[in-house]
Amino acid sequence: MKALLMLENGMTFEGTGFGYEHDVLCEVVFNSAMCGYTELLTDPSYAGQGVVMTFPLIGNYGICYDDAESTKPWLGAFIVRSVSGIASNFRCDVDLDTYLKQNKVPGMCGIDTRALTRVLRESGTMRGMISYGEAIDLAAMKKQIDAFVLKSYVPEVSDREGKVYGDGPIRVALADYGVKHNIIRCLVKRGCTVKCFPYDASMEEILAFSPDGVMLSNGPGDPQACVKSIEELKRLYNHGLPIFGICLGHQLMALAQGFDTYKLKYGHRGINHPVKDLEANRVYITSQNHGFVVNADTVDPAVADVSFVSMNDGSVEGLRYKNGRVFTVQFHPEASSGPLDTGFLFDKFIDLMGGSRI
């Protein structure tokens, strides 16, 4: 079916629908990874976003359920230049088109994704809408986009069931703001028992688990919307448990300490982002997915040091807190998708918790 993408600046791109062909409003962002779309589709941090893949050939190896980062795809829409006609991989469970249909994710292909990316780079991330069919009312679309308000998806993606993973000796409480399952796998494989707590769990609920440490997960959207989470983190910090935060978890801890965050023009989304470890003077290539970032100027040097910075724009990529128990990173050491270069940060967390590496 014919599909049309309109951006909030009125610009339109015509293409063809695939997946679940139903009109959708979303925030349009681009991701520059050349593979790993299964992980991306199922990463709760993309909840509600329309993701443009800059790599033009998507769906080549189909969908492998083992690679999913959560129980289902969360993103609002998937925008690509072309969808592979065949899914070729020994692990493939289903092809991309079918998977999106089954999971009600609208898809759009056949557009000049590079041209669209350049628009997003120059004008910044924008709201947008995809409409399907022959007779599309452009004026009505524009109205809908203008009326569309971005919301926080954290309450939707956070696990309320309190699932427990692994049975290792180290007990980790995971504050689930929309966790990628590889964070859990990285901990379990290092000998942890991981229990998930919802985003708004209180410090008392978490302490009742008598954890050796707390893992703050990634998650979608604007950190400042997570008011309750920030409050609880303030208290948790003072309690002195080892805490490791990733992505949204990193931002929330920064806000809890009174630092500020702001929205990047077009975010960092890809698996080729270099960050510098300022202490070790080493550069690592990382997987990133964030639209917001901690404002370096607001980091109180009495409370925390910037530990990692982005080599691309100098923005804050990690904080090390002065109490010696808490460290957080903006990028994704659990990778999935992306380079495994910074997996050692999980070892560091285990050490902080007094555990031994397995």
């Binding site: 991989n89 041209a115 691309n312």
Partner: protein, 1072 residues
Amino acid sequence: MSKNPNIKKVVIIGSGPIIIGQAAEFDYAGTQACRAIREEGVEVVLINSNPATIMTDKQIADKVYIEPLTVETIKKVIIKEKPDSILPTLGGQNALNLAVELEESGFLKEHNVTMIGTSADTIRMAEDRELFKEAMERIYQPCAESEIAEDLDRALQVAERIGYPVVVRPAYTLGGSGGGIAYDREQLISIASLGLHRSRVHQVLIERCISGWKEIEYEVMRDKNGNCITVCNMENFDPVGVHTGDSIVVAPCQTLADKETQMLRSAALDIITELGVEGGCNVQFALNPNSFEYCVIEVNPRVSRSSALASKATGYPIAKVASKIALGYTLDEIPNAITKKTYACFEPTLDYCVVKIPKWPFDKFQNAKRLLGTQMKATGEVMGIAPTFEGALMKSVRCLEVNMMSLIDKNLKGLSDDAIGERLHVVDDRRLFVLAEALRRGFTAKEIHDITKIDLWFLDKLVSIVNVEKALASEELDRALLFRAKDYGFLDETISELSGKSIEEIRKLEDEWNIKPVYKMVDTCAAEFDAATPYYYSSYGSENESICQKDRKKVLVIGSGPIRIGQGIEFDFCSVHSVWALRDLGYETIIMNNNPETVSTDFDIADKLYFEPLTPEDVLHVVQLEKPDGAVVQFGGQTAIKLAGAIEKMGIPILGTSFDSIDAAEDRERFDAILNECEIPRAAGRTVFTCAEALAAANELGYPVLVRPSYVLGGQGMHIAYSDEDVIEDIGAINQIAQEHPILVDKYIMGTEVEVDAVCDGIDSVIPGIMQHIERAGVHSGDSISVYPAVDVSKEMQDIIVEYTRRLAKALKVKGLLNIQFIVKDNQVYVIEANPRSSRTVPYISKVTDIPIVPLAVGTFFGKTLPEMGYEYGLQPEKELIAIKMPVFSFEKLYGADVNLGPEMKSTGEVLGVARTFDEAMIKAFYGAGTHMIKKGRVIITVKNSDKQEVLPIARGLYELGWTIYATAGTSDFLNDNGIPTIRTNKIGAGKPDILDVILSGKIDLVINTPSKGVAHNRDGYLIRRNAVEAGIPCLTSLDTANAFLTCAQHVETTQLSVIDITTVSSFLNFI
């Protein structure tokens, strides 16, 4: 900044002549590296025997030694130049081997020279099979089960243990030379014997055969702080079993999910870290398509063909960054030259697909086996960039210049379905087209996959292309179909053939539906950052990024496409120099080319680079966008010349010599008329179209005659015919190379061949020098040893040659370069041919005469006269030196190819010997070409009857030096009768040991064999020559070469070899 302040003067070892497995990629990498090092204020001393390269220009390095790449030469240069460092990772395997030898001998330490970039320990660990295996075991990286064997018995034992089939890989050889897959004991005996012989350390690795697995490559960078990044990964279309240099390669990997990708990426980083590489490194993996099982195939701790491809595919300048790392910088200190905002410590991400296809020389070697295996056979490669795999593949197919504009191979039409089915089992250069034909015939992708193991994803892309072909032939041409066809890389002419619509109709529809290519930028970052690189490819999309400026006049330079025999790196040298000359004159320069190995396709050479196929339609699209003020075709070899007519029709003036003049030189009748007018004699000849006409012409002229097609380079399809049978055979061969142009039949004159390159300004000519060929006429000029200045041509003859050159230049109205070949016989000068374009000899003559030939030619395009540019008309004063260009062949790589020299060019590259005397220059040239010069040894001499008198003095000379001569009955009797003792040897099959056994005994140092016509005779000669080449023994097939060899043998022990910095030739006194 962590640059090492102790590095002030660096020796860089180049890769030497172009041979199969080592082509222009090292000129690209070396040139980029030299520039990167010099911009840091470090002095560069370059050693490279290849004069056709840009890196051996005085603009690129401070000191340039065009000398044989031997340990002795490098020692002399080091003693003379006193460098503090040596950088060995830019000259391929050869340079690594030389550097390790220098290090192991203690020489570097003794002279306080540090190896920078990658250490000798690292090189040893990567190159020595046993050390490598141990290193991989330390970091738990799996290698295919294997063991080293140092003799045949051991090899057989290992194979028994691992189980057949096994792969045989000789240690320390180039391009897998001498390796192969053995399916049984017999095959192993033959392959391993050869491999042991070829290996510098007499080792072969016997390895578990993993053919059919996916072959994946990673290009990795690492600095001294341990920062590592991967520049690019690449996947081979052809599964393991075909050498990666002979595989169709796609970047990035297409069929790997993130889990497999990261597993291999991490492995690559672990490997480079364990090896301690500081710079670039290539890691090759085999991945089981049905599991996560993988193994490391090979590691190259240096720049390579793959790194050149990765650089061009991503825009990341690997050689430049590797050089900065060698100087001590770390990745986070080196700016990204493309974005200028980010740093070298990031990983490029692509938003397009790149397909590389190798360029094979089988059109030159009708007898060579076209089968592809672990021994690389390609001479060059092409690359296509597009947002679809289909588009990138179709683009690269037409870059190959094999008369194929799509996947439709008309030669396959006549085969039955069964025959096509059988062909699917054959892995050769034509497989891609067979796959497409099989799909057309109804074979399913699954059936083809089961036979070929090619991934279903790739086969599905071929299905898409075939489906478009079918739709064009059977459906209404609507907008969607036309768009899809263009997006998948179909040319209008192919769409026209399939749909039955005329090209004009199709273009009208394209206008109407606005289906026009736009140009996208290769920016390393998928548009995430604003970039200013002027590196573009065409795409069918909605936004054009190539913004055309209108303030300056601009010139389009057409490049020379893939490296092939007859059209090599020399043309890239000329193209690059023309770009620089145009830039110096204030023009905006735009280059179009498609060879990822070359300097011309580096993004900072021209103001704009369009990485595109070179067909009229592809050029038209660029012309429509850029509207250049002129186009330059005379530097890009036949590839560019062929486009002259089409470009002129587009309304773009051809700068310099006009298309009409080019045609006049090519067109037999027009050229004859000009020669008559100028009163210049040439061998009598006729232009014919049919075999009958050819026979009539040959009989009228009298045998022997030269038979050749017109409009080709490198003597392709040229033969000397001695009889009617020969003519019939030769015409048959020519017709296989699909020609619409006529065939030329000339009387063959056996004399001294002389060659001239001239620069002409429309008024008169400057002749930098006259070159004389050692081999008589009949051996292609590209395969002849060429001597500057012409030592055996009398002053009187030279005056005539100069006069003829000046007359012809005027008559042909040449503006720019003119190359003429003459024959001198009995005090008569004949013209063989004249080509108003750059030639193979321009780079070396420019260097040894210090005359900027290409810039002068460019100057003439704009009306400057040569005297205005500082050069008097006529022959330039000779320099007080002798420069000898010697051809280098790659016969050992091409099983089955006959090595005898003839009118069709066969050499892949060349070296130069420069010295004050003829003997010294010749000895250097022989050394440079890899011939170990010795005063005495063992030689086999077998020549045809008509050569016996002529071989006598050569045999006597060798005998007097102490050589032992082996010969078969005829030659042996003849030599004995003339007082030269020989060891008589059985003819092939006339009882053991026969002459082949002698060759393979390992005792022979030289073979002199002249081929005779006639099938039966020639078969024996062919076997002798092939076996000699495969055993690594120099085989001379021209008595002129043998004579030169003798002269060198006579003087080798008494001649001191000097080393000459070619940048100082201007100070060499002139003879006059």
